[in-house]
Every structure is written in C-alpha cells, then in structure tokens.
C-alpha cells in the first residue's frame, strides 16, 4: 500500500510538473512572439521614418545585425537588402506582407523557413515614395527555445522530482502509519486514523468476540469430554477406518502400554493381538463386535462399534472394560454347581446301590440292618449338606433381613460344648471352655453356627487324645472368640483357601472324616455379616487356632 501511494503521488507530481512546463512554455512563447512583433513594428516605423527623411543613405551607418532590412520598389523589385545582393533577388511583389503594405500602408506576416528550425517575422511599411520597406527578424521555434532552456529546466526537473519523491515517501508513510498501528486483536482500541475504517473494525471486533466465544465453548466441551474419558476406568479408543488412533484415554493407554505419542499411530503398533484385529476388522465392515482379550493377566472385554456417517464407516469406537471379576464369579459359580452336584451325587449313589441290593434280595435278612444304617447315614449326610447349602444361601442374601440382638458368646459356647460332648468323647478328645462372658450384638443362630462349625472341625481334624480349647475374651472394644486344637494343622499353602466352598485340604480322605466342606465357608460368611475379622494360625502336625474378633 505504501508503495502504491508512493508511486501514485510521484506520478501525479511528475505529471503536473511536466504539464506545467509545457503550458508555461506555450504561454511564454506566444508572449515573446507578440513582444517581438511589436518591437519589429516599432523598428519598421523608425526605419521607415529614416528612409523617408534620408533616402537610401539612411542604411549606410546602420547597425543591422539583428534585423534584415529590405527595400522593395512598388513594382516588386528589390532596391536594397542588407544581407544579400539586391540585384539577384527575385521579385517580392507577391509576398504577403508587401501586398498588405501596398494596400493598407502596413503589413506583417510570419513564415517558417523549411531549412532552419526557426520562423521569420516580417513587417512592411509603405514609404512616402510608394516603395515598401520591410524588416524581418528570425524567431526561434519553441523547440529551440526549450533546447536553449534545457539546463535550467533539467535542474528544475531534478529538484522537483527529488522533492516529490521525498514528499511522496513521507506522505505515503504518514497515510499508512495509522493502518499499521491498528491492533487487530483489539481493533476498537486505537482507531485514531480513519473514520472510514470504523465499520470494518467494528465488524472485525464482533467476529473476533464471536470466534473467541465459540472457541471457549469448544474448549469447554473438549474439557468435559476429556474429563469424562480421563476419569473413567474403562479404556476408550477412537480409531479412523484405517486403524489410526485418533483419541485414547489414559485408562486405555495404561492397559495397552501405549506411550503418550501413540496418537496418530496405527493401533497395530500398540497392540497386535489377533482378537483385537478381528473385532476391528468386523467394525470396519460395519458390524459391532466384542471379544475377550487378556492384558496384564486380567481379562478385558473389547467392544468395537463402527461410527457410521453418510452411509460409510467413519471411525471405530473401542471400549475396553475389565471383566476379570465377572469371569471369576462365573467360574466360582460353575465350580460351586459342579461341586454341589458331585457332593450330592456321591451319597445318592451309595443309597441307591444299597437299596438296589436290598430290593433284589441278594442279602440275608440279618445284613439288612447294617445296610439300612448305611442308607440312613448317607441320607443324613445329604440332609446335612442341603442344610449347609441353605444356610449359605441365607448368608449370601446378607444381613438386611436378620434381626440383631444381644448374645452372650460364653453361654453359646457352653451349649455347643454340651452338644458336641458325645462326638468329642467318641473321638477321645477333651473340650474345654475358658474366658469370660462377652455380650455382643448378633444373630444368635449364626453365632452358634460359627462356634459349632469351628468346634466340629477342631474335633474332626484332631488326633486321638487331643485337646480343643474354646476361649472367649471380652475386651473394651471387641470380643474375641478363639478355638484352638492340637490337631493335624493346615499347611500354609492351603490356609488362604480353606474358606472356599467345598475346599478340602486332604481331598482323598474327606469321605472318612465326613463333613460337607462348607463349614468354614459358613463361618466366613457369618463373620462377614457380624463384621468380625477371622485369623488363622496353624502349624501342620501341631494344631490350629482360628480366632474371630467381633466388634462391639
């Protein structure tokens, strides 16, 4: 813009300058011509007077360097000429100024000489004797005039051009400066320059504010999205149809060990498991797919869904979530079902076997009694099992439906010891009870279930002549129930599994010992409902101590 203003200004200045020179030269030329003509008239009049008075002798001492003087007789022949020989000159009667002078007494004309770049002015006057005196003077043409003045004109031109360049430079700078000083980030702040710019600047200002507002909104939305995806535990990955990662949340990045620069890379470079490739290729084909993949020794379900836009797959959303617990629970449930069926089936087989033998009369009547007692004991075992399962499923339902009341652990332990005394005697085991009465809030039948199962185990897994001691301690903030035996003990590697349903340390001898494998499971659940902590100390071959700490 500066350049353009500069150029235009220079152009205007130089054009005006040249026009001025041309016009002034023209005006000057015509002025000079008329001045010259007047002078010529005066000189002609003077000369005519001189010739009238003195005749031809007037010419003798005349200084005639500037003018050419010619005397022409009335018939046109030249009588005298100061520059040429009068005798050789042609007849001048036809000349315009002579004719005019003969007619009017005075005449003038101007003729261009073809050879010289100048014109001649002629002035003629009729003398008293009828002849005509003519004076002529050479007049320089405008070209010659300009040529003659070229030096000063050049000086003037150079000075004027330099001056106009300088002024144009300053001017253009000055015009543009306010534009350059505009602060486009805040266009309304310093518009001192031009009112004409105000509408434009106002508009820019408005649009800028609008843009800023929109950018803020976008940023806010982006932040919301990021906040949501960043804080979610599930992995979320957005892919384009070629499998390039567009967005990956921190959970997914952590799961797939993707670095911070994984955005823009292909998902294959982050994880190349075939299952992932399959769900992605399904999604690219426009179908939703899901698969379980294993990462960091946990199971994750991958859901891939295509994002359809304009009838084509525009992207893929991958969602990864941890299903390890679900799978584990599923596994537990399957195992439990299998165990229950197995545990129920074994006594049923015995019962049905004994019954079949009796039915087919294969045995003598005196053997029927032992068979019946076997059937009875197996049936008892099944009843026990079913009861335990029912107990457990009650416990599974939780504490909501239970009514809590004050219970004395010591009294309950006394009852249990009394109940189990016959079994203890049968196994030659001494059961002792020590400690103080301790009252806690609890569900009576569950608490007695806990004590019963613990004592029952302590007696069962004991050796002949062994001891079982139940100890109840009443502390300030809790009550501690511990059952200590001098039995076979539990190897350390089994200690954290004994509370699982149907878990047996010694699987091969479980049948001889009896029991359902659910006792400790019931203890664990009941303890959980009472908020009690269960701890196991055991040394194989020496004995086991299981303690429960009930909060008051």
């Amino acid at each position: 813009m500066t350049k353009r203003i500069f150029r235009s200004t220079c152009f205007v200045a130089i054009a005006v300058l040249i026009a001025c020179i041309v016009l002034i030269m023209g005006a000057l030329y015509s002025y000079f011509s008329s001045v010259q003509m007047n002078q010529l008239h005066m000189q002609t009049a003077l000369a005519a007077q001189g010739v009238n008075n003195e005749g031809l002798s007037y010419f003798d001492g005349l200084d005639i360097s500037d003018y050419r003087i010619t005397l022409v007789s009335p018939d046109g022949s030249v009588l005298y000429d100061c520059r040429a020989d009068a005798g050789t000159m042609e007849n001048h009667l036809k000349r315009e100024e002579i004719q005019e002078a003969l007619k009017n007494g005075e005449g003038e004309s101007r003729r261009f000489s073809s050879t010289l770049s100048e014109s001649s002015l002629y002035c003629a006057q009729k003398l008293n004797d009828g002849s005509v005196l003519r004076l002529s003077v050479a007049q320089k043409s405008i070209f010659t005039l300009v040529l003659g003045m070229s030096q000063p004109i050049c000086v003037v031109l150079v000075v004027a051009i330099v001056l106009s360049l300088y002024l144009a430079y300053r001017l253009s700078k000055n015009i543009v400066r306010p534009l350059n000083e505009l602060d486009l980030d805040d266009p309304l702040s310093n518009n001192d320059g031009y009112d004409e710019l105000s509408p434009l600047l106002k508009r820019i200002d408005r649009q800028q504010k609008q843009l800023k507002r929109q950018a803020n909104e976008m940023q806010k939305k982006q932040d919301e999205f990021t906040a949501i995806t960043e804080s979610m535990n599930e992995g979320l990955i957005l892919l384009n149809p070629k499998g390039t990662i567009i967005s990956i949340n921190p959970a997914a990045a952590k799961l797939l060990d993707a670095g911070q620069f994984s955005k823009g890379k292909n998902i294959l470079t982050v994880n190349r498991s075939l299952a992932l490739q399959e769900v992605i290729s399904d999604a690219v084909a426009g179908k939703s797919a899901e698969k379980i993949i294993e990462l960091h020794e946990r199971h994750y379900q991958v859901d891939a869904s295509p994002v359809i836009s304009d009838g084509a797959v525009g992207g893929i959303v991958l969602l990864l979530f941890d299903v390890t617990e679900k799978e584990d629970a599923e596994q537990l449930r399957r195992e439990f079902t299998a165990n229950v069926s197995h545990e129920l089936k074994t006594p049923l087989h015995s019962i049905s076997g004994y019954a079949e033998i009796i039915k087919s009369d294969l045995i003598s009547p005196e053997d029927i009694k032992p068979f019946a007692s076997k059937i009875y004991s197996e049936a008892q075992r099944m009843i026990q099992l079913v009861e335990d399962i029912i107990n457990l499923s009650h416990l599974d339902e939780g504490a909501d439906s239970m009514s809590f009341e004050d219970c004395d652990l010591y009294l309950m332990a006394q009852d249990t010891v009394a109940n189990l005394s016959s079994e203890a005697d049968a196994s030659d085991i001494t059961v002792t009870l020590s400690g103080d009465p301790a009252v806690i809030k609890g569900v009576p039948h569950m608490l007695s279930g806990i004590i019963y199962n613990l004592c029952d185990n302590a007696i069962k897994y004991n050796r002949p002549g062994g001891k079982v001691n139940i100890d109840i301690r009443d502390l300030a903030s809790s009550a501690i129930l511990s059952v200590r035996d001098t039995g076979i003990g539990i190897p350390p590697e089994h200690q954290n599994r004994i509370f699982e349903r149907f878990y047996r340390v010694d699987k091969s001898h479980s049948k001889e010992v009896g029991g359902t494998g659910l006792g400790l499971s019931i203890v664990k659940h009941a303890a959980k409902i009472h908020g009690a902590k269960v701890s196991v100390e055991s040394t194989p071959g020496e004995g086991t101590c299981i303690s429960l700490e009930f909060p008051k």
Binding site: G243, N266, L268, T269, R272, S273, L274, Q277
Partner: protein, 215 residues
Amino acid sequence: MRFKFDEQLELLNEELIVMGALCEKAIATSAESLATGDLELAGGVPELASRIDRKERDIESLCLKLLLQQQPVAKDLRAISSALKMITDMKRIGDQSADIADIILTAHINAGDDALSIGDMASAAIKMVTDSIDAFVKKDIDIAEAVIDYDDIVDGYFTSIKSLLTQRFSVPENDGEYALDLLMIAKYFERIADHAVNIAQWVLFSITGNREGGN
C-alpha cells in the same frame, strides 16, 4: 505419487505387524498345547501356519511392487529389503510351530508332566519372537540387540535338554521315540529362536544400515 508411496510403506508396516502377531500366536499356541496337552489347540496351528504363508506371499508381492514402481532409495530401500528377508524368517517360525504341533498331535507329548525344562525353553523362544516383533514395531535398537543376546539362553536350554535326553537313552526301558520327539521339539524351538535373532538383525539393518548387527 510420493504420498501414495508413504501410504504403501505404512501398509507394508501394518501387514508385517499382523504377520508377526500371527507368528506369535502360532508359537504360543504350540507351546500352550505342549504344556497342557490340549490337542485341540495344537490342531489349530497348521491353519495359522497357512495363514502366515498367505501373508508372506501378500507381503512379498507388495514389496516387489514397491521396488518396481517406486524405486526406493536409502532408508525406504532398507525397510523394504529387510521386510522381504524378515517375512522368510517369520514364515519359518510359522512352519516350525506347525511342526511342533504335528509332533504333539501324533506323539501325544505332554511336557507339562515332564521334568525337562522344555516349557521354560518354549517361554524363552516365545519371548524372543515377541521381542523381535516389538523391536520392529517400535523400531527399537535396544530391544533388537537384547533379542540377539537372549539367543544364548535358548541355546543353553537346548544343550541341557539334550544332555538330559542322552541320559534317558542310556536307560533301556525308556521310550526312545518319545525322547527323540522331545529332542525334535527342543530343536524346533531352538530354530525358532534363531529366526527371531534373524528378524532382530534385519530390524537393526533397516534402522542403522549396518548389516552385521550385534556381534
């Protein structure tokens, strides 16, 4: 034109990763069926091997097309030529995994019960294959060199298994064929580890341009 070239190079890279993943799957499946005696798993390996073969041909023709049409130079040329070499090694890994699966299927070998450290050797070989593919994916010189060094461990396993099996041969009542099959499997794992070393060396070549690689 160049844009298309870049796209094709990217495609080559992705195809190689997919092929690598297939190899990993093949050897892992063989090793798992070896450990668990799950014959159904082993039955799936030949199918994987033929998928690897198809992939090899695809990548081969893609490489040749790139070489012919784009006339690559310098780093691109190294990448394409090392890809051509790498797929051969990957294909061999796939074939040998299938061979292991074949032996498991016919000889009913269950190394899970065996005192031999063939399971450890399998894990070491799998680790090498996985790491060599990782080195390729991440273009990581350190991982590639670690793979090359790790080969000694697999070789060590092979030597110890071999000497254990030699002892078995000396006891006449042992099943000689069973021991031979075990030796074959160990040898295949050892070969797979060597192929992983080759892959790592080609990865090094494609990055550094130095063909010796490691030692």
